[in-house]
């Protein structure tokens, strides 16, 4: 019974394994192993294009994380408390389900129509809207499982609305918010299509820089970069997993 499982894992991890192994290759050759070397790791940091891309991506991802978490949480609380029926909820989660290409060209059209110059700020706006949907979904799921009588008890004991929110609701939402934040960060870090359409050629994000590298000239430091990104993602995913037990909610 477990044979299909192992085969699937083999399929899923084979490419990643190749990349990680080759990141330690002593030669420039992508297809022949010539010995162990760590040379490509520092090379990554010496590559200008990569560093610029990385800097931009970090700026974008951090801004998006902060904005999306705040807006997404507010949205989730608003939906949970003040709306009935699924319309607003569906609207809020829609960006997560629509094809990214569609959102990308739409945003490009909008920015162009309003004569907004493209740059990191437009990417931040685009990513925030997109990531917000995920945060809303996660926090909403968490809200659905909270005991409403806790809030009622707080009010009954004399705490006002704001105090109740800050001392009772928010701490309970915290794990969901952190998971949403981690998710937003990872999504923004990795997002290519929307960024591709909404940024200026002078301000590429890391995925865009990688795209250029892959298209025009593959250098081995890509493997090192990929491996490092892989471990960042692993930590982010495990962190998010520990905090919300996302898989339990599935």
């Amino acid at each position: 019974m477990n044979v299909p499982l192992w085969l699937t894992y083999a399929f899923l991890y084979l490419p990643i394994l190749v990349v990680v192994i080759m990141s330690f290759n002593a030669s420039k050759n992508l297809f022949i192993w010539k010995g162990f070397s760590l040379q490509w790791y520092p090379a990554v940091f010496a590559d200008d294009a990569v560093m610029v891309g990385l800097r931009n991506t970090l700026i974008v991802a951090t801004s998006v994380t902060v904005l999306a978490t705040i807006l997404g949480t507010l949205m989730a609380v608003g939906i949970h408390r003040y709306t009935r029926g699924g319309l607003v909820r569906a609207f809020a989660i829609a960006p997560a389900l629509l094809p990214d290409l569609l959102l990308a060209i739409g945003l490009l059209s909008l920015f162009s129509l309003l004569s907004v110059t493209l740059g990191l700020h437009t990417v931040i706006i685009a990513h925030t809207t997109f990531a917000m949907a995920f945060v809303t979904a996660i926090v909403l799921a968490r809200l659905a499982n909270l005991d409403p009588s806790l809030e009622e008890a707080s009010r009954d004991l004399g705490a006002g609305a704001v105090r109740t929110f800050m001392r009772v609701t928010l701490p309970q939402l915290a794990p969901g918010m952190v998971a949403g934040a981690l998710l937003s960060f990872t999504l923004s870090l990795d997002e290519f299509v929307i960024a591709f359409f909404t940024t200026a050629p002078t301000t590429p994000t890391l995925p865009i820089a990688i795209y250029s590298m892959v298209r025009f000239g593959v250098t081995p430091e890509i493997n090192a970069l990929a491996t490092m990104l892989l471990f960042v993602s692993i930590f982010a995913v495990i962190g998010a997993q520990r905090l919300t037990k996302v898989t339990d909610a599935l």
């Binding site: 490419p15 003040y82 060209i105 739409g106 925030t128 409403p148 359409f197 593959v218 892989l230």
Partner: protein, 313 residues
């Protein structure tokens, strides 16, 4: 005007605090959504009915030209190929994903989470890099060819890269986790007592799977199919990197219109067609799921009568 009624954990509070309290929560998010999701989508809808300006802008004269142009066999072919490839990817994802999800569900509880996270992890690595890895694998000098030659199965490399098959493999690799997750969720939420009841009534393991587990998992499978089909149709990076520009899909066309040919209205029309296809698919999937779980719906009059009988019983 807060009226509180006793609620159980998990229930939505029955208070409806209307008015000013809702504003600070809902406004910022809604504003962003309207401005940066709704308006752009409407723009695209609009643009598809307009024409391209001489130097690449948009001329706001209403016309159906773009849709007429779409009817050209060249473009219809592209759309058909995209649908075809997305369908193949979806079917493959189902064939691989279903046994995988089933195997995970049957693992002891403590291994299940690890198994799921293990499926998710590749999904969370940079997608360009995952695609690039397949270039390493599929290249004539790449790892798969090397491996096959090494064990003597072939004597010269098989051309795998820059073919339609490579695009299929790349897309499958990309979106397989999106099939496994909803399938797993559906299978995991099935009441274990149902399989016990089926066994108790005389069904061997295969019959139990065929008559109980499988039918109940269909809504989850349909969700997975939609989750795979939708992005598979609109992806342009994989066809480009793994298909070598020979395989042109809808996504590539749209991207070219917007960034190379600068014919935004036509690109918008293409995107619109894509969206309509996908919405139709989603609606069909919802309908099918509901029909399977709730059974064929009786005409309204009969349904109302039925409700009254039940409440009296």
């Amino acid at each position: 005007m807060t009226s509180t009624t006793p609620t159980s954990p998990g229930a939505v509070p029955r208070r409806t605090r209307r008015g000013w309290a809702a504003l600070p929560f809902l406004t910022p998010g809604t504003l962003m959504l309207v401005l940066f999701v709704l308006v752009p989508l409407l723009l695209i809808l609009g643009y598809s009915f307009f024409k391209r300006g001489r130097f690449g802008g948009v001329v706001f004269t209403f016309s159906f030209d773009n849709f007429v142009r779409l009817a050209d066999p060249l473009y219809l072919n592209v759309i058909a190929t995209s649908v075809g490839i997305a369908a193949v990817v979806t079917v493959l994802a189902l064939l691989i994903g279903y046994p995988t999800a089933l195997a995970i569900v049957r693992l002891p509880a403590k291994w299940r989470t690890i198994a799921l996270v293990a499926v998710l992890l590749p999904f969370w690595t940079n997608f360009l890099i995952r695609t690039y890895a397949w270039i390493l694998l599929l290249n004539n000098a790449g790892w798969i060819n090397q491996g096959l030659e090494a064990i003597g199965l072939i004597d010269h490399p098989i051309k795998m890269l820059y073919t339609q098959q490579a695009v299929v493999v790349g897309l499958l690799y990309m979106y397989l986790p999106l099939m496994i997750l909803p399938l797993y969720s559906s299978l995991a939420s099935q009441d274990a007592q149902l399989t016990e009841a089926a066994t108790n009534l005389g069904s061997g393991p295969w019959r139990v799977f065929r008559t109980v587990t499988l039918p109940l998992s269909i809504p989850g499978a349909l969700t997975g199919c939609v989750f795979v089909f939708v992005p598979a149709m609109s992806n342009f990076v994989i066809p480009e990197l793994l298909g070598g520009g020979k395989t042109v899909l809808v996504g590539n066309l749209v991207r070219d219109q917007f960034l190379k040919a600068r014919d935004w209205p036509f690109g918008a029309a293409l995107a619109l067609v894509l969206t309509i296809l996908l919405v139709a698919l989603l609606v069909a999937q919802q309908r099918a799921s509901r029909r399977l779980t709730e059974g064929p719906r009786a005409p309204r009059a009969q349904r109302n009568r039925a409700q009254k009988v039940v409440s009296r019983a």
